[in-house]
């Protein structure tokens, strides 16, 4: 198939891993196009950067625990990428947020110590890097918490959150406020847009202030601004005269969309292209080399040629890896071999849903440089990688950022080597 468009590198997938790899490649001077069937998981994710939360005991100092964790899990992406590549990847992300379209908005923390933040049901979740708008939620902080809910936001129950925080030893209570948004119910995104407006915030703060007790910090669902979260959050702290923090909600996730908008802006600023709706249907292979991929577009397909490809299409949840009715799993975009599948005839699932599942570490087979097995120019990043159980380890964003940066560097090294050869 003759390529209608050619780039230096094509990235498949627009989640954190795909956008990171695409942006890093573009920043290093490559002509890059990110092809994606649709928007990635950012719009569903809480917006925190989880590097290592459990191993399986809860981790408080990821930097200290990671070397031991990697030694114990030689197949884990962190083992292939190298622990010392993680901190620079977090730094890269934090600076893209700060240079992003949300003025003043920034992330706090790192590998030294996990933040321990409350979830919407009042449980506790460890995260390495969190938005400034969530940091004041630190469970260890002695200040009592007033969890503020609104009936119009049915996805967040302040009393449930406060009750569970109390059981976890945090002095907490709930307050319900009437939020007039002109519609019977609103989702977190609609409210986040409203909080971008100073007038809405002023009215909200005026109604909330008299209900607060001295010394209390305020917990809100993650609705404090979409395009100006820093402005909205600092304004609320100023008006209420006390710390305020967000708690991630059910999708749509405003903090997650802020991440997408910021990294998407960095991709655009670096000259990288993004094509949504372009589901890749097949590839043209020449032995171990993929020369082009055919993407679905309206009317006729579009063929994209490149020297390098990054597969960042995710795992089972995104449909990038599928278990068929023949009990065989396959990678659905480029048909690459997988690793981590139990042998034929062996059990695929155990009854304990949250327990260790036989197929939980399935991913695209890669060598130590994250090159997909049987190819010479396809790298793999993000949840498509084998050897990890991100939702149990609390390592999803850590893997996405570290592997996204790693594969971009790997392409540059090989391009540099080829140029001088």
């Amino acid at each position: 198939m003759t390529a209608s468009l050619t780039y230096d590198a094509i990235v498949l997938g627009a989640g954190v891993a795909g956008l990171t790899a695409g942006t890093r490649l573009a920043e290093d001077g490559a002509r890059v196009c990110v092809l994606a069937k649709g928007v990635g998981s950012t719009h569903l994710a809480p917006g925190t950067i989880d590097v290592l939360g459990y191993e399986p005991a809860r981790v408080d100092e990821p930097g200290a625990v990671l070397p031991g964790f990697v030694a114990a899990h030689p197949e884990h992406p962190y083992a292939l990428i190298g622990v010392d590549a993680i901190a620079p990847a977090l730094k890269w992300f934090a600076t893209r947020i700060e240079r992003g379209p949300q003025p003043g908005y920034r992330y706090m923390g790192g590998l030294e110590r996990n933040h321990l933040l409350p979830t919407a049901v009042g449980a506790v979740r460890p995260s390495a890097l969190v938005p400034e708008t969530m940091a004041a939620g630190e469970i260890a902080s002695p200040a009592p918490v007033c969890v503020v809910g609104a009936r119009v936001l049915r996805d967040f129950h302040a009393s449930l959150c406060a009750a569970n925080l109390l059981r976890a030893g945090v002095e907490a209570r709930a307050v319900e406020l009437e939020l007039d948004v002109g519609r019977p119910e609103a989702n977190a995104l609609g409210l986040a847009r409203r909080f971008d407006a100073p007038a809405f915030r002023a009215a909200f703060a005026a109604r909330l202030l008299p209900l607060l007790r001295s010394g209390e910090r305020v917990a809100l669902p993650a609705i404090v601004g979409l395009s100006d979260p820093h402005g909205a959050w600092s304004d609320l702290e100023h008006r209420l005269g006390r710390p305020v923090f967000e708690i991630p909600t059910l999708p749509p996730s405003a903090p997650g969309i802020r991440v997408y908008n910021a990294v998407r802006a960095a991709l655009r600023a670096a000259g990288g292209r993004l094509v949504l709706g372009a589901e890749v249907l097949g590839a043209e292979r020449d032995g171990d080399r993929i020369n082009a991929v055919r993407a679905h577009s309206s009317g006729h397909d579009t063929v994209y040629g490149a020297r390098w490809f990054v597969l960042a299409t995710g795992g089972f949840a995104s449909g990038a890896i599928e278990l068929g009715s023949d009990w065989q799993a396959r990678e659905t975009v480029l048909g690459l071999p997988l690793r981590g599948m139990p042998a034929t005839g062996e059990q695929r699932f155990t009854a304990d849903y949250f327990g260790p599942q036989p197929m939980s570490t399935v991913g695209v087979a890669v060598d130590s440089s994250l090159l997909a097995q049987g190819t010479e120019n396809v790298f793999v990043a993000g949840a498509a990688l084998p050897g990890a159980v991100p939702w149990r380890e609390g390592s999803g964003e850590g893997i996405a950022l570290a592997s996204g940066n790693f594969v971009a560097q790997a392409v540059q090294e090989r391009e540099g080597a080829a140029a001088t050869a």
């Binding site: 468009l5 649709g38 719009h43 002109g182 999708p251 802006a265 292209r273 679905h296 309206s298």
Partner: protein, 407 residues
């Protein structure tokens, strides 16, 4: 393909919906009005309760503008916008279609009536009391950006135009906007194509039926689009590419008519949809093969670029951005707003005008902050809405290439 078959095919995409609400986050309409609950609720969610042949009670789906951004962003491949189009059609079948929606959705009829009396027609369009009366009687909002007739047609120019007798043949699908309102854009498209070695043929053609489809008049839309397909198919079958500058109309030919009007298996429309190209898509592929003429003179201008929803619906990225970056001196600033709000005839309607302006507010604000006095945009109704909302000139990207070529 009977109507039921095409509907069943769309419904089969329903079960891929995992309720993630990503479509809700990109919907330009549901984010500015409670009247439309959003693509997920009106589409995959409500569709489960709709039995074919039993039209839905609720009519909120009438407020869907058909922009298609939900289908584009859905990571699971659910045909959300298309399902909503069918639901809207079912509501219209039950409640009937207004006189307004039967009139403003026939641009070629309006064009033939208005062109000979353009000065008078345009005076009425600008005459305030007439617009207030028009709003009350016809339901077209008094402030809606109704474009002035050009007073001449593109085809009249095309008949007199003597193009080169050799070169690769290409068929130009100019669309109603070019024919009756912006013939100069059509002339520039032909000039740019000829400058790049094409021999441009302009067969007799009529509307593609998109406005009728958007307002739920599916039978009439089928008549128009199939007549157009019959006219273009002979050229398509001999391998000739069909090029258009109106991204909504080329998308109708490429995909929307086949998916929404259940014409997947019409042989003429099938070959036409494969051979149809957007003008910028064609020129970029030409450039990839090294055949695009890049003798561009400098154009010292700051221009903001907005990709219309239905250009993004081609799922080919933004070729106009690549082409404009070839023009020396041109400072192109890509906007990332989603929608100008007009969606063809949607924003002209009395009950939807303010929703359209609210949906476009983010874009208008980005234009104001972009520092650009000129906005490039591929679709004509969007250009008129952007001019209405920002009081800045809006041009098709081709016009900037034409200027850079100094044709």
């Amino acid at each position: 393909m009977t109507e039921i078959q095409s509907h069943e095919e769309l419904r089969s995409s329903l079960d891929h919906c995992v309720k993630c609400t990503i479509c809700e986050t990109v919907c330009p309409v549901s984010n500015v009005t409670p009247l439309f609950p959003g693509p997920k609720y009106a589409g995959p969610q409500a569709e489960r309760f709709r039995v074919h042949g039993q039209p839905p009670e609720e009519s909120s789906v009438d407020y869907c503008s058909g922009c298609g951004l939900c289908t584009m962003s859905c990571p699971q491949g659910v045909k959300i916008a298309e399902l909503n189009a069918h639901a809207r059609y079912a509501v219209k079948q039950r409640k009937g279609v207004s006189l307004r929606d039967r009139l403003i959705t026939r641009p070629t009829v309006l064009g033939r009536l208005g062109t000979p009396v353009a000065p008078l027609a345009n005076a009425i369009v600008r005459f305030r009391p007439a617009r207030v009366l028009g709003e009350r009687l016809l339901g077209v909002h008094r402030d809606a950006p109704v474009p002035p007739f050009a007073g001449r047609t593109f085809r009249a120019w095309a008949r007199r135009h003597q193009g080169p007798s050799n070169g690769t043949k290409v068929v130009y699908f100019h669309g109603c906007g070019t024919e009756y309102y912006e013939p100069d854009v059509g002339e520039k498209v032909v000039a740019v194509l000829e400058h790049n070695g094409y021999r441009v043929e302009i067969p007799k053609q009529d509307c593609c039926g998109l406005p009728l489809q958007s307002s739920g008049l599916f039978d009439d839309a089928r008549k128009y689009v199939l007549r157009l397909a019959r006219a273009l198919a002979p050229h398509a079958r001999d391998g000739t590419l069909i090029v258009g500058n109106a991204t909504s109309c080329t998308l109708m030919l490429k995909r929307e008519a086949r998916e929404i009007l259940g014409l997947e298996h019409d042989p003429d429309l099938e070959i036409v949809s494969r051979q149809t190209y957007d003008i910028c898509e064609l020129l970029l592929e030409l450039h990839e093969r090294g055949d695009l003429r890049t003798d561009f003179q400098p154009v010292e201008e700051v221009v903001a670029y907005h990709a219309p929803c239905q250009q993004q619906g081609h799922w080919i990225g933004k070729p106009a951005l690549e082409l404009l970056s070839l023009v020396p001196g041109l400072d192109v600033r890509e906007l990332d707003a989603r929608c100008c709000g007009i969606a063809g005839t949607y924003g002209l309607k009395r009950e939807k005008y303010q929703i359209a302006m609210d949906a476009g507010a983010d874009l208008f604000d980005q234009v104001a902050r972009s520092g650009a006095e000129l906005v490039a945009c591929d679709s004509e109704t969007c250009r008129w809405q952007i001019e209405h909302g920002t009081h800045r000139r809006s041009v098709h990207p081709i016009e900037l290439l034409h200027q850079a070529y100094r044709l």
